[in-house]
């Protein structure tokens, strides 16, 4: 530990949080939690969904989430019992000594207030513009132009920086961050994390950062706390924990960070004929914006192509055009033996429709909430029960799942069902849109493994889209880098990773290396 002082900023002793009115056999949400944060220390809390990490963070902010109950133990922040303190006392603490930056950028700012208005709301009506400018400069937003802007006039990264400035303007002793970068693009997230780290070094506040992403937490935390099923399974200096995980879950977590050099799937160089060919493809969004701008590439039978792109890169528009959800503006898009994909879904033949299948990002949205797995799989494919069982086992689920409803499955399981449903249509081309980004890293690794086995057995061509270059490079044969609707680089995975030509690709590769370096 870097700074060991006598004053503990946060102190939790033997804390247990349970679901209010739950039966006795239900496991507690948090169980025997002992947790301290010293002055000036930065602690990262990592864990999958349902590990209790967010509940813990809220508890430190003095909030017991609705439906939960603090059964045992004490939560002391700056020497005060924050959970039992009155609303007024807590309000006072929020102002002076404690600041929280919540996860959802969009909902954390008031749409009708300017940036200056937000500062007036937080600090007081008479806040000097100079002081606001100073704190904005500190978080990397220069110029008084920002004062008069409304939230919708700020980008995601700028919004996160404003929220950070708002949190820090009253010099708190403790800053709580809930998934500070999950809503940001990779390249922007890296910059924001660096800013946070610099600010902490300068002001010496204590920091608690919660994230599902080990790669994020390791960049700003001196100490790492790993949580699983409501318990702290490991705690220690960040570098030490990462180098020698003392717990099997931590080991799994460390292993499942995609690494640029290692591969999930063997590269396959023997591909068949051209399956999809795009020449100067342009797709518009609205009247003026070109979501996809003169894109040319080809995909061969059985080839796995990774598309890397952040928000606004046009990757989703490209996939939508390929499967016919949106019309194309100009250019040529051909499939198989010269079938024209310039038509939207309604005009395509049933054969063409079923030969291109897509799996979406959000597993909660991919399955009809009112249908069992058997209904979801069989409704339009007319698959027999045997077919369904076979395809389920191919994606790693047994036949018990046939009768499950979506709300009885985890995100990873739902995504596997979505994959199984796509496979039942016997596609020649599978479009996978960020299919692992909503999943925990350990689940993500397992899904990728399944996908790799499937590809080997079926020889289906895939387009895998992701913002995570490490993940894609470890899986695809060929990479395409998209930015602002244009193709800026393409080549084999090794070419892109080892010798990126474009500046932007170089930055992405550098960030990925930093994240996965031991």
């Amino acid at each position: 530990m870097t700074v060991k002082t006598t004053l503990e900023i946060v102190e939790l002793r033997d804390v247990e949080v349970v679901v209010r009115g739950a039966r006795e056999e239900t496991p507690p949400i948090l169980q025997s939690i002992d947790f301290q944060v010293a002055q000036g220390e930065s602690v990262g809390i990592v864990g999958g969904s349902g590990s209790g990490k967010s509940t813990l963070l809220r508890l430190i902010a003095g909030v017991v989430s609705e439906g939960l109950h603090l059964q045992r133990g004490a939560v002391r922040v700056l020497g005060k019992n924050i959970v039992d303190s009155s609303a007024q006392e807590r309000e006072e603490m929020y102002g002076k000594s404690l600041a929280l930056v919540a996860q959802s950028l969009g909902e954390s700012m008031t749409p009708h207030l300017t940036v200056l208005g937000h500062f007036r709301d937080t600090v007081g009506k008479d806040v000097a513009p100079d002081r606001v400018l100073r704190s904005l400069t500190e978080v990397g937003l220069d110029g008084d132009g920002y004062l008069r802007r409304f939230p919708h006039q700020l980008s995601g990264g700028e919004r996160q920086r404003v929220l950070l400035a708002l949190a820090l303007v009253r010099s708190p002793k403790l800053l709580l961050l809930d998934e500070p970068t999950s809503a940001l693009d990779v390249s922007i997230a890296a910059d924001v994390l660096k800013t946070i780290k610099d600010l902490q070094a300068r002001h010496g506040f204590a920091l608690v950062c919660v994230s599902h992403d080990l790669g994020v937490v390791r960049q700003i935390a001196d100490r790492l706390v790993v949580m699983a099923q409501g318990q702290i399974v490991e705690s220690g200096e960040t570098t030490k924990v990462l180098r020698q995980p003392g717990n099997s879950y931590t080991q799994k977590l460390v292993d499942s960070i995609p690494k640029l050099e290692s591969r999930v799937r063997q590269i396959d160089k023997n591909h068949g004929d051209i399956l999809l060919e795009s020449r100067d493809l342009t797709v518009s969004r609205g009247r003026t914006t070109r979501a996809v701008d003169s894109l040319s590439f080809e995909i061969r039978k059985g080839e796995v192509v990774g598309i890397i792109g952040e928000s606004g890169s046009g990757k989703s528009s490209l996939l939508s055009a390929i499967c016919g959800l949106v019309p194309i503006d100009s250019g040529d898009l051909r499939f198989g033996n010269g079938q024209d994909l310039a038509t939207t879904m309604k005009r395509r033949s049933p054969d063409l429709l079923s030969s291109i299948q897509m799996v979406f990002q959000n597993p909660d949205d991919s399955l009809n909430p009112k249908c069992s797995v058997a209904q979801s799989l069989g409704r339009y494919t007319n698959a027999s029960r045997d077919d369904m069982v076979a395809v389920l086992s191919a994606v790693g689920l047994d036949q018990k799942f046939l009768s499950r409803q979506p709300n009885e499955m985890s995100g990873g399981e739902k995504q596997r069902v979505a994959l199984a449903r796509a496979l039942l249509a016997s596609p020649e081309l599978l479009l996978l849109d960020e299919i692992t980004s909503a999943l925990d890293v350990t689940v993500q690794a397992a899904v990728l493994k399944t996908l790799s086995d499937l590809q080997k057995d079926l020889g289906v061509a895939m387009i895998l889209v992701s913002h995570d270059i490490a993940l894609i490079a470890s899986f695809a044969d060929k990479l395409i880098v998209l930015r602002n609707g244009r193709l800026i680089e393409q080549g084999t995975s090794a070419e892109i990773v080892d010798s990126p030509r474009h500046e932007y690709t170089r930055k992405l590769v550098a960030i990925a290396r930093q994240k996965s370096a031991a």
Binding site: C323, P350, L353, S354, F360, N362, D365, A422, A425
Partner: protein, 270 residues
């Protein structure tokens, strides 16, 4: 459409509905069905010896200006409006759901045309139009149900349309299209099972408005015709005797209000 039936039942079972609401609805349902079979005084028999009497052992809630038993008329008085309201609500629910989902699925000019039709229906002065229809075609329950059903379908259609539009943009519907599902299959398999609860709530609300509209019509003399026992009509008939025997006016008002409030509380629930 399974959920339309199971969800209210499930929510009743989970005891989140207030017991008072539950009791009121059960009570009204019970008397509406069983009133003719209960050992009550005749609703039409005029006891000329006792007009406008207060409560007694013989007449529990007293008698009206013609000497008829108020208690018996009160228990029978919900039946005509409930019958018409059920028929009209069925018409408006079916037509509203069809128009709403069709509008959302088709899009384009058909959506525009249907939406303007709904705007038109919403702009109609309901009660005045009902008075016209009723005086033109007479107090035929079939025509009244049809008119009420058509006039109250717009909110149901609108709610169905917007819920359907939201659903159509969801990934599982896109996947269904990719697997070759046509509009009808999407409507049946993906949309209708998921619009259930929202639309059910709206339909239930419309049911109460239709109930009130018919009672208002009766109050104005163009709904149920005398000597039918009907709450709205009973209020109208006893208005002049309000000071002599307030129970005559208060009791049907209480019956109507409690029924409407309880159903709305049930619909609003969740």
């Amino acid at each position: 459409m399974k959920t339309i039936l199971t969800k209210p039942v499930a929510s009743l079972r989970s005891r989140r509905v207030k017991p008072l609401v539950l009791f009121t609805i059960t009570f009204h349902g019970f008397i509406a069905v069983l009133a003719p079979f209960l050992p009550l005084a005749s609703t039409d028999a005029q006891d000329s010896g006792s007009l406008l009497q207060g409560p007694s052992l013989e007449h529990w809630l007293g008698t009206d200006s013609l000497g008829r038993d108020v208690f018996s008329r009160l228990l029978h008085g919900g039946r005509p409006s409930l019958l018409i309201a059920v028929a009209a609500t069925l018409i408006s629910a079916v037509a509203g759901i069809v128009i709403g989902s069709l509008s959302a699925l088709a899009g384009g000019w058909l959506d525009d045309a249907l939406s303007r039709l709904l705007d038109f229906l919403l702009a109609l002065p309901t009660l005045i139009l009902l008075l016209l229809i009723s005086s033109f075609f007479g107090q035929d329950p079939f025509i009244l149900s049809l008119a009420l059903g058509l006039m109250y379908l717009a909110p149901i259609a609108r709610v169905t349309r917007s819920t359907t539009q939201t659903l159509l943009a969801r990934d599982f519907v896109r996947v269904a299209r990719m697997q070759g599902a046509g509009n009808l299959a999407i409507l049946r398999g993906e949309v209708l099972p998921n619009v259930g609860w929202v639309v059910f709530t709206e339909v239930t609300m419309q049911f109460t408005w239709i109930l009130l509209a018919f009672s208002s019509l009766s109050f104005l003399g163009l709904g149920a015709s005398p000597p039918t026992p009907e709450w709205g009509l009973m209020i109208a008939e006893s208005r002049s005797y309000m000071t002599l025997n307030p129970i005559l006016v208060i009791s049907p008002i209480l019956m109507l209000a409690s029924l409407v409030l309880a159903i709305q509380a049930l619909a609003d629930h969740e």
